[in-house]
Symmetry: D3
Subunit: 249 residues, 6 copies
């Protein structure tokens, strides 16, 4: 069940039995020569839709441009400033809270979003915490979950790509996008096979250190089949985790 | 050609022959008992993808939550505050400008976005205009185009729905979403057949005046076939208009 | 009755029988070689004062610097950024609402303000709309009315200046300022007689396309007499429209 | 010479011999039972216009709503938040600096504005100070001058109103407004004759302590004649001070 | 009693008999060749701790970086923008108010902070003043007190340094820091002995006019003994003043 | 070497051989019945000073109030909103960058700060990354290091407190504060001996779940001696890590 494809009466009915929602959150940034710019949004969106289809959970719209300033050296990458992203996430949250949603599960596809997502949670909670008597807003609970960060998913990825899974433009995330968009498979030889690793600051520093955009990965291992399996495994993990989340008082 | 489904090298190649991009921009808000909450994002996204497929134009990600405070009385509606939306649009624009895009065509699906989109353009231009010597940012040109606002599209809509096209949850926009998501057609009788019209302020005022969310429309006229035709007609109009836009010095 | 020239007891008495106010809103920007920089503030201020004098309506202070980034290529033009203007308009509105004004009629003199004024309304309404229970602020209604945008005014302008009324530094607005400040009439020959038309982005683009600042107008047609008539006609239209506005539930 | 009543060519010519400007800045707030809400804007505007007329100095538009949160307990009072006022003043300043004005003299009419005006100066200067190489903006100098804060003016006020000049709704400022608007003279007996004095925090505290709005004053002493003399004396002081200001390297 | 060195139960107990707190607020900026960069924070912190020790008053953490853009031409100087400082002070204040503190006494060590501190007070009060019914926040009272601004302190400073006390890097403030950090005494000959005086705008202007950073002072007069006496005298004045402050209804 | 206790010439000299600086960053929040509210600032400040003393590294002022909204249910806790903290950290960073510091090492004492510190880095870097040609600011590198997050420190803590180290108000951090302020040792029996663990949202939720403020810890194990050893071990780790940081190109 997707919010975007629901009527308001559908949502009204849903709220009668559940006040939880999954919101995919990603990024629009280069993912090396074989990865799609939308990778980090496509992954959580695809997985969340599967959860929605299989488990009747409501899936919100995808927050599709995140914090990716370090990728701006590569054409097509887009970013929000963290302060903008915090404001936007607080508006999304306030909107959902207005209707009675009190368990918001952000399914994240981008490591570079983690800090700002958590900061946005704190920004939102702080409004209520600063009140002597909490009158302005009802209490809500938010959770950040990276889609790759379940034991079953990590194990699957390790089995599939024991070498060259990497940190950016990983074999697994590229596989998921290939499963989602089979006509977008890119067949290339990458040089070096496994990209270098390291830390970085701004976009100029990043491009100098990681000339083709990848960090530590060999995404040529990505296949549609692996992507399909990853989606299935991850969707199951998310479904269980979300269930536990909404059942926690 | 979609940015989300491109690699950075794809975008680099595209920029060698064109510095224009179409960005769909919509909203997430109730569209009456038979319309989808994502209607205003689905319409420009669907049309833009058609333009991208048919004409090789690059289509950016969809700015999918807009200014819809007046719809917050209906479950599932979401909004950005205008100040947030201006900040986010400026970040998107600065990202695209960074790569050399200098013609940004925002294909809009929501009347309630018009003011804020135009204000965001002014916010962005003002940075450059306030400099005695324009050093910080290259010049760019932005255009706002509502998808329904072409003579051919208006004529088509009028022919299809001479009565009850309406102002919100229009027969045409609902038709476009049905063409995009044929399994989402809602078959209902609405009472009154044609919704009331009028002005409104905040969400409380809106809900009181328009109890089922529609304004002036009878969206039960919407059909998949009409939606398909509207998509075709609009995509042609957008393609021509975009071509003229990028060719204007 | 002007707020600026009232005591607080005067306002207290006024509020006993009316909670409506007219606030003139304009700009400080070049208006071609014969037009005054303050034109867009002078026009709504002059008209509003007439309405205040003739009808006992309370007239607020003039919001005198608006969104005019595109005019910054011409000496003396001033601008707010839209985000600043939204913040300022919200503060003005919150102040008036605090006292019980719930019908605020912004009489606008500048086309470039329209988007940001509407965005400011949405920013203000959104605070209330985002609350599950509207506790923070009382409901209010705001209206944006461009002074030139009444049928009687458009007809009068068309009769007076059938050719060369124009889009910026119009014959009519210059006439109104001449009526308001008869010692400021500028007698010049302009070349070309009618200025070019077109669209624009930032201040550099504007100045290049419209070298003397006018768009599409021949303001040498402006006379004190025409200005006087326009003030009278517009004041009557505003008075009726405001009356209807405050009487709408 | 007033900016509002100038053409852009007038300003262009002015800038050839002077890059200084006087900007009146005031407030819109209660001034007791006999004082006008616009008092703090009327005073600097009236004095500045006199300076402009007598000395050919360019006078900017009046910044007419300032920081007056403490007066909001009285109908008609309006305020900007300091953060809004800082943003607006910075936009005004950036606009003027864009044209080459590098000496901006803010003639202030409201004690409650002093802190925020000075903070706005610092906000503006800080942009340049934070740059290792000052590239973004040209250097400018700003001065805050309260109109009443000259020895000649203080002496005159003391001679005219040796008792009951007061701190808010002073006899002198009310006199200046009566001279500016002779038809607005209010003839009343006030009780107590001289208002109480003290400090205050927010609007609730202020109204409790100063029930009719005045602080320490007996404004019934105000006369048109005294106002006229005060305008003359102050305009002379401002003219000299401004001359010294623009001649300081 | 210092907040930083208290447990939450200590503060809970304190609040049972007092809802007042002293918050030292300073700056991090050059103080000439013999003065420490932390001078303006060290002084109020040292004095406040003495008051806390001697009188059982609760002392908050030191707000240690203030508004010092004009000092950025000298290595090590740091600044907040006024808008940032206002936001931070409002957060500190809201936190303290949340616990029931309603008398907040800001003991200031830096002249350049005065405007912004006062603007921050107004920003905070304005939230409450703008509400028709003050529901969001309890009323509080804030006071700004410069540590040097008591008659007894001024007299002491004048007796100690009849010549060359100065305006920045004053003999007295340097003496207080030497008393607080006896191992930081700098023994130097300064040339000129007494620094020049004057006004300034941004950091470039300041450094040009005051090449070694001092304004009007001869801080080589500073001694540990004088600093100790100044601390004692000031602490007594602060203690009395704070007592009066919290006892004012 | 502490910035606060240096003159500007000291800093100028330091910059000739090093452009790196350590900035302690902490929080002001409850740390259970035996822990000090300033714990998270005291720890990094104490350790950093040791590094500064032993290794001649410049230590900046302590950023002493951080993100602690979840602790506001306990008297004395203070917080910044993340958006405020980002703005303040960017101002601190811009100030230091202005002088040529290009390696800024934030030594953090509070887990709740991690997200916002990282978001602030991204906010700062983004300004440069968004420029096509990086002109506005020099490149800098920032690092976040939690003081407890070294192998040697974790091992030491584990050896000292094999059980009940905990997550908030840990035995180790309390020990460090006791070593720093030996007169602040609190001798109490806590019930339960080891506090509960779990997740939390806002301040109301936190206080309900963790009634005395601790999470998972038994801080009664803290001793001055353990604190001294922890300071020594951590200072050595920080010194090595900082050395490596500034030597990384």
């Amino acid at each position: 069940m997707q919010l975007s494809l629901s009527t308001w009466q559908d949502v009204e009915s849903y709220l009668e039995h559940s006040t939880g929602i999954i919101v995919p959150i990603g990024s629009m940034e280069q993912h090396g020569p074989t990865g799609l710019i939308g990778t980090d949004s496509i992954c959580p969106e695809t997985i969340a839709k599967r959860v929605g289809d299989d488990n009747g959970v409501l899936i919100g719209p995808t927050f599709n441009v995140g914090c990716a300033q370090h990728h701006l050296g590569f054409p097509g990458s887009m970013t929000l400033r963290p302060s903008t992203m915090i404001a936007a996430m607080c508006d999304w949250t306030a909107s959902l809270s207005r209707h009675g949603f009190d368990k918001i599960y952000w399914l994240n596809g981008h490591g570079g979003n983690i800090a700002t997502i958590n900061a946005a949670f704190v920004e939102y909670y702080a409004q209520r915490s600063l009140e002597s008597v909490p009158a302005k807003q009802p209490a809500i609970t938010m959770k950040l979950q990276n889609w790759w960060d379940f034991k079953t998913v990590l194990d699957t990825a390790k089995r599939m790509h024991p070498v060259g899974e990497g940190m950016h433009a990983t074999a697994s995330e590229v596989a998921v996008t290939y499963a989602a968009y089979p006509d977008q498979v890119r067949d290339m030889v990458l040089e070096p096979k496994i990209a270098p690793t390291g830390s970085f600051t701004d976009a100029y520093d990043y491009r100098k250190k990681f000339p083709d955009g990848r960090i530590g990965s060999d995404p040529t291992q990505a296949t549609i089949e692996n992507g399909q399996e990853l989606i299935t495994v991850t969707a199951q993990a998310v479904a269980s985790d979300f269930e536990a989340f909404i059942n926690t008082p």
